[in-house]
């Protein structure tokens, strides 16, 4: 096998410029995970089927597994690590935890990125709009309800800090038979 000639490029990710040497065939996902060491974005299928690799490219959601890293030069890339901005944990991230929208967490980064894009496009989505907006992201654990509720909660503007008041809306007392 002939070694591939690497190409010098600069990636702009989460507000930082990274000078890198890229294989021309490297996906944006692979470059961000392996060259920049930002492993929050996940590879679940390498085929744009699961959404675990979702990033924002100039604000638009993108399956980074199926996009060449070199194509991202000169454009602004946002990954899950950049979602909180200056916050420790952003409101959408807090809502995901408070609404039990996170179990194994592997789909979570992509889900958060897709939800961020959705809320920018449509700050007050209906449940159906949320469900359609997130249908490019597979989750096998949660049944999606906590995720949908988290997005609704952010749209409603009320996300308390972690460790404070209960937010799980389904807290009706369980049926007690005995």
């Amino acid at each position: 096998m002939e070694p591939t000639m690497k190409v010098a490029a600069t990636l702009h990710v989460n507000g930082t410029d990274y000078p890198v040497e890229l294989d021309p065939h490297a996906s944006l996902l692979k470059a961000v995970r392996e060259e920049l060491g930002l492993t929050g974005s996940k590879e679940g299928c390498d085929d744009s089927e699961c959404g675990a690799c979702m990033m924002l490219l100039d604000g638009e959601p993108l399956n980074a597994c199926s996009y060449l890293a070199l194509q991202a030069e000169g454009r602004e890339v946002t990954t899950v690590e950049g979602l909180a901005g200056d916050d420790d944990v952003g409101p959408l991230q807090r809502a995901f935890l408070q609404q039990f929208g996170v179990q194994c967490g592997f789909c979570t980064p992509g889900m958060l990125v897709s939800a961020t894009a959705l809320l920018r496009r449509n700050p007050d989505p209906t449940e159906e709009e949320i469900r359609i907006g997130l249908s490019g992201n597979l989750c096998r654990c949660t049944g999606y309800r906590g995720i949908v509720r988290a997005v609704r909660q952010v749209a409603s503007g009320d996300v308390p800090p972690l460790g404070s008041a209960p937010v799980h809306p389904d807290t009706t007392p369980p049926h007690r038979a005995g």
Binding site: K42, G143, Y144
Partner: protein, 753 residues
């Protein structure tokens, strides 16, 4: 009854912050200095003798640092109940995902190219992919040497039948002859998959004679034992660490590639990482949900008493045993179901084929068998002109009733679950003629197993749990601080958890069998109680009070009723010096029954503390296309006491959604060589966010035998979903769909008759 304390308001899982910020590390996120990459060479035939393996071209490729075949490893087979497999194929390949050789390259691309350059000569053998035909006389044997393999003493093997089982009660033949009505049904389920969103990954690094293996496994101790056995090294030299685990659903149980990667890392003399592609995650793992062919026969009186049940189940084991040797017996118990039946004769055949091996996937065998049995129960009800819910009301088990092997049940809430589910779904109301409601009932046992844990108090009044329990994402381990916080009178947010490391914590069965709260929770509680005793004894001395008059609450030890007579836990810890406890608790015994007539007893012939479930599904069917839309599922569960309502609800929501997928779209399709035709997420269709129905969850809570009155939670949610949907579909189209998954084509064909 005493109030069971549950999760405090605002309790958030401790691994949550790392998961939502992207800073948490899963196995494939790990890199090490000098790390190289593993790839496997897979079988070129589904069944063939290996005549020759030539690795010379692969070894000559620049950048290749190791190439291994089974000739380089100890001559040791592994397997849970039957030891039938080598890490790399030796002499014979038996399914498309069989690993013939492993290579390590300094890049993934070089490793992939080297794997391609390995030259293998084969003599093809007849391929057995039909798991029913596999047991016909004269069928090609998948394992001709099966009689001489090491195996569990209770395994009854013959020909391609790796394990044969019966569940027997009374005299089913005579009773059947005396029944008012006899109903026979035939159902077939395709194989399906667990599909965690994280593909499996393994990293191994040797330092001297010791190896550390980071693996996306649900069962680190089983992985450790498997590495030790297959590489012939002491368990003490094998450390398995599980980084964050991106889902499992059973599919990440058993020894899975840790042995091969450890061997490759030793040969390469550097850390080696294996990350599976999505296609490999479908085709090479030895852990899918098995196909089952089911024949049910039930004799019933006109007033709805089940006088006899006969059933024959044939299960597709695939090429190797793995941990799935018990599947036949488990399926046989599910062919009885949580019903009172006077006489029973069920037999199950777990047959080898040249298909992907089967193993535990979330409630192994139960959803498929429940799908068939619950449709059969609706057919029985129709045959005697009775409403199917009424038939279940008359026949479900209750306290004091006898099970399939005459175990006598304690208080169980299955009838309550039935009433609650039909209430939530609005059973019996008028619906448009393309909509209907179906009901199904299922069960799942609790698995008694040893476990061990440590709990230590820290100087600042916080505490640390050290447990061998494994967290697959469900939150079962993440809920353990609630137990410890309650025992020690401190905030669960001040209790940290150390898990995931076989060198640190005592043995645990792992994240499988819905057993974490039931067994690991028991051990952690016992360890916390030791700490509690130490604190209370020291406090009794300091406060000059009777130990029995003291309680731990709010970070202090205090005299009950005199809160001003108190001492801070931090002061007690300072005084005692080190405060730590260890615990295991007592492993519960399986219930006794009349099991003497049963063949192939592997421990599932009675069900300890069965979890009971009724689900009711409201569906809409397009008769012209066969497309089914599930509008709502009502799920009522008896899992004993619920400690963390939101976490438990999460298990049901996820399980029901998996169940809807199993019902309608998730099926592995095979070609005539046993190769998967749909090993990708576009053609193996999981439910998306916009496909999911409304789901209403409720819990029937009676005290059970697990810690704090609990049972398991995680597996049952998937058990009856497909059956409930099937019964609803049949009400719309007038016929039962006899093949799972119930795809539009199959529904359309069934509707045409």
């Amino acid at each position: 009854m005493a109030t069971v304390e549950t999760a405090p308001a605002g309790f958030v899982r401790q691994d949550g912050k790392e998961k939502v910020t992207g800073t948490g590390r899963y196995t494939a996120d790990l890199t090490f200095t000098g790390m190289a990459h593993a790839k496997f060479r897979y079988a070129d035939h589904s069944h063939a003798k290996i005549l020759k393996i030539d690795t010379s071209k692969a070894k000559a490729l620049p950048g290749v640092v190791a190439v291994l075949t089974q000739d380089d490893l100890p001559d040791v087979r592994y397997g849970g109940f039957v030891q039938d497999r080598y890490l790399f194929a030796r002499n014979t390949v038996r399914f498309e995902g069989e690993i013939v050789a492993g290579v390590v390259g300094v890049t993934e691309e070089i490793a992939a190219e080297a794997a391609r350059l390995i030259e293998v000569e084969y003599e093809p053998l007849p391929v057995v992919t039909d798991f029913v035909a596999a047991m016909e006389p004269g069928a090609t044997l998948i394992h001709p040497d099966l009689p001489s393999y090491d195996k569990d003493e209770n395994i009854v093997a013959d020909g391609n039948t790796m394990a044969y089982h019966t569940i027997v009660k009374g005299d089913a033949e005579t009773a059947m002859a005396g029944a008012d009505v006899v109903v026979k049904s035939h159902y077939v389920s395709d194989a399906s998959q667990g599909v965690p969103i994280e593909p499996r990954a393994v990293v191994a690094q040797w330092q001297g004679d010791k190896v550390t293996i980071w693996s996306s496994t649900q069962v680190p101790y089983a992985a450790r034992a498997g590495v030790a056995q297959t590489l012939q090294v002491p368990e003490a030299n094998v450390r398995v660490v599980v980084p964050l685990l991106g889902g499992g659903f059973g599919a990440k149980c058993d020894l899975h590639f840790e042995g091969q990667v450890a061997a490759l890392a030793r040969a390469a003399q550097r850390p080696v990482r294996l990350v599976l592609s999505r296609e490999e995650e479908f085709t090479i793992i030895a852990q899918r949900r098995e196909g089952i062919a089911m024949d049910f026969e039930t004799g019933v009186t006109r007033d709805g008493r089940l006088v006899a049940r006969r059933a024959k189940l044939v299960l597709d084991k695939g090429a190797y045993c793995g941990e799935g040797g018990f599947l036949g017996q488990m399926a046989a118990m599910h062919a009885c179901g949580p019903y009172q039946i006077d006489h029973i004769s069920v037999e199950a055949f777990l047959n080898y084929t040249n298909n992907q091996p089967s193993g535990s996937v979330r409630a192994p065998t139960a959803p498929q068998v429940c799908w068939g049995l619950e449709q059969h129960m609706d057919e029985v009800a129709a045959a005697i002109g009775m409403d199917p819910v009424d038939l279940r009301r008359r026949t479900l088990i209750e306290e004091g009733a006898e099970g399939p092997t005459r175990q006598v049940f304690d208080k169980v809430g299955v009838r309550d679950t039935l009433e609650r589910a039909v209430e939530m779904i609005g059973y019996g109301r008028e619906l448009p003629d393309d909509e209907a409601i179906g009901v199904a009932v299922g069960w799942w046992p609790c698995m008694p197993a040893p476990s061990g844990a440590y709990v230590q108090m820290n100087g600042d009044g916080s505490a640390t749990i050290v447990t061998g329990a494994q967290e697959n994402g469900s939150g079962a381990v993440m809920a353990m601080p609630i137990f410890v916080g309650q025992e020690l009178g401190i905030d669960p947010n001040d209790v940290s958890i150390l898990y995931q490391d076989t060198d640190v914590a005592p043995w645990d069965m792992g994240s499988c069998g819905s057993q974490t709260t039931f067994n690991s929770g028991r051990a952690i509680l016992a360890a916390a109680q030791e700490v509690r005793e130490q604190l209370l004894e020291a406090a009794a001395e300091q406060l000059e009070a009777d130990r029995d008059d003291l309680e731990l609450a709010g970070g202090v030890a205090r005299v009950k009723g005199s809160p001003d007579r108190s001492v801070a836990i931090t002061d007690l810890v300072g005084e005692i010096g080190t405060v730590h406890g260890k615990g295991s608790g007592e492993v519960l015994d399986a219930p006794t029954g009349d099991t003497g007539g049963c063949v192939g007893r592997l421990g599932n012939e009675t069900f300890l503390a069965p979890q009971l479930i009724t689900q009711a599904a409201h569906v809409k069917v397009d008769r012209a296309t066969g497309v089914v839309r599930v509008l709502k599922v009502a799920a009522a569960h008896d899992s004993g006491r619920i400690l963390n309502r939101a976490g438990a609800d999460g298990q049901v929501l996820g399980g029901v959604v998996m169940g809807v997928g199993l019902a309608l779209s998730e099926g592995t399709m095979l070609d005539d060589q046993g190769r998967q035709r749909n090993p990708h997420l576009l053609d193996y269709k999981l439910l998306t966010c916009s496909d999911t129905p409304e789901i209403e969850v409720d819990w029937i809570e009676y005290d059970s035998v697990g810690p704090r009155g609990t049972k398991g939670v995680g597996e049952p949610p998937q058990v009856p979903t497909a059956g409930a949907i099937a019964n609803a579909i049949s009400k719309v189209i007038g016929r039962h769909v006899r093949r799972l998954p119930m795809t539009p084509e199959r529904v359309w064909e069934a509707a045409r008759g």
